[in-house]
Amino acid sequence: MSLSAAVETSGLSKAYDGKTVVDNLRLRIAEGEIFGLLGPNGAGKTTTILMLLGLTEPTSGTASIYGHNPTREPLQVKRLIGYLPENVGFYDNLTARENLQFIAELNGIGEAEADARVTELLDAVGLHDVNDLVVGKYSKGMKQRLGIADVLIKRPKVAILDEPTAGLDPEGINQVLDLITGLPEKGAMVILSSHQLYQVQKICHRVGIMSQGKLVVEGALDELGKKVGGGTRYQIEVETTEPGIRAIAIIKKVKGVIRVETKGNMLLIGTNSDLRAEISKAMVNNNLPLIQMRIQTLTLDDIYMRYFKEG
């Protein structure tokens, strides 16, 4: 966010037959970032991506890729973006090399240059040995890696990968993720969508979580917990028989406690450090029955589960 945003949306919305699928989306993604667009199936990730590419028109709001509007300047935008669709497909009757050459040609890359790039990329994605095999005979993982080569052939400034790891075995996932991690070095920022948490956790610099078309939370991984938890890093849950104003007041006096909420018999205490000892001491001192105490670090998983459950 400190850098100037390369990809930006404001108020971006899409409705199908009156049903809002992407709702007033505001995104700012900077150059050199790997940005994870996360959310359960049907959250509107793909729709958002399509709008960024100009493959579908937003109902309202705008998107901008390096200052270009995808609806009005689709060609400039497409020149900048390399897009790996969800469930990418290739011409099964062509070889990997021919498939890539065709895309290179569509991008107006000269034959010699295209040849060099294809060779280099097939090497990079580890498909060198099978480059003359028709793609119809490729495994899903090979196709996905070829897809990444396909994205890179035009040397994009933005690589948008829709569910790049879907349907792959663990080894395949790792290979693909390794490739993605290397993209910023090659000069491409990455926007990837996924509903698979752990991959994102590993490689994303920042994530945005979508739920029912809304971007519910966005930020760097370590900031994210705070944001979701109301600005705290830890959440300490205390079960007591007397939750109430007195209990809240007592706990609020503990140094370092930022916020206290009640939820049934539970007190939810937001802190930035592990204050379990202090809190239990305070409770005991004030004759508050303490039944159980638990500390939670808010990981992406929790956040994710939370929105999944809601969605």
């Binding site: 399509l50 040609e105 991008n107």
Partner: protein, 294 residues
């Protein structure tokens, strides 16, 4: 568009489907030539001898009309070839999930559909031209009479006509390939339309009063093509076949080239317009379509 065109051409010329159609073309040309040869030998030197290669049928042979190139073969096989070349052009990309990848490249969306349309037309044209040239070449050897310049012009116009006619069917098949996700559906619809235009229209035309039927037939590309090719290739039949004059027993005078052109002009424009309408619909639908790979 050039790139798409080239790729499509490469696809066509590498596909078994097109190869088989090529063989079919050769086979049909051979049959037509054989038929013409049987019917034409020793029949004098009157009229448009060379054109007769394309319009003569074997005498006293049942179903001889099935073998005439000029009317029958072209009338029935060009649509089939057109349909085969067009019916899966868009929806196969969609089901192969390649379309969104292609459309995210910096090309205009219409260049995909235009390139495909043109590649199909080009392939079809190559087939038609090869067929006509083969018949001409072998025919020239067999009958030994060179075409007059008028015959060459007529033959050329016929080629143009046949290609436009083929263009209609490619356009129609492509329209269905845009409208329907499944290639099976689009080929079924295309064949359905083909049957309607080839046979259905005529049956209906017989059933309704003459006034209505002639109007109805104007919308059948088959009918338009048959009439126009008749005028171009068999000028000796006179204007009667188009103008529906009261048929008389008097042999009509052959039409001059100019007259022939004048007569086929409306048919040609109608054919071009329905082809364009077809293409325009698929174009608009395709341009507005949201391309999802799922």
């Amino acid at each position: 568009m050039k790139t798409v065109f080239r790729k499509e051409m490469a696809d066509h010329f590498s596909s078994i489907r097109v190869f088989i159609m090529f063989l079919l073309t050769l086979f049909i040309s051979g049959l037509a030539l054989f038929a013409a040869y049987q019917g034409i030998r020793g029949t004098g030197s009157g009229g448009f001898v060379f054109l007769r290669l394309f319009t003569t049928q074997i005498p006293d042979f049942p179903f001889a009309f099935l073998l005439i190139f000029g009317n029958f073969n072209a009338l029935f096989f060009i649509p089939i070839i057109g349909i085969i070349l067009g019916f899966d052009s868009i929806n196969s990309e969609q089901s192969g999930r390649t379309l969104s990848r292609i459309l995210s490249q910096p090309i205009f969306r219409d260049s995909v559909i235009n390139g495909k349309f043109l590649a199909s037309i080009a392939t079809l044209s190559i087939m038609i031209v090869i067929s006509v040239l083969l018949i001409s070449g072998f025919g020239l050897r067999l009958i030994g009479v060179p075409p007059s310049s008028e015959e060459i012009i007529r033959l050329f116009l016929y080629l143009v006509l046949a290609i436009i006619y083929g263009g209609f069917w490619v356009g129609l098949a492509m329209l269905f390939s845009v409208l329907f996700r499944s290639t099976a559906t689009s080929i079924l619809f295309s064949l359905f339309v083909w049957i309607i235009f080839s046979f259905g229209v005529f049956i209906v035309a017989l059933a309704v009063p003459a006034q209505t039927s002639s109007l109805l037939l104007q919308f059948s590309p088959n009918w338009l093509f048959a009439l126009a090719s008749g005028v171009l290739m068999q000028p000796q039949l006179g204007a009667g076949i188009v103008l529906e004059l009261v048929s008389s027993t008097i042999q009509p005078n052959p039409l001059s080239l100019g007259q022939s052109l004048l007569l086929v002009w409306p048919h040609l424009t109608l054919l071009v317009s329905i082809t364009l309408i077809c293409f325009a619909i698929s174009y608009i639908v395709f341009m507005k379509r949201e391309i999802r790979s799922t």
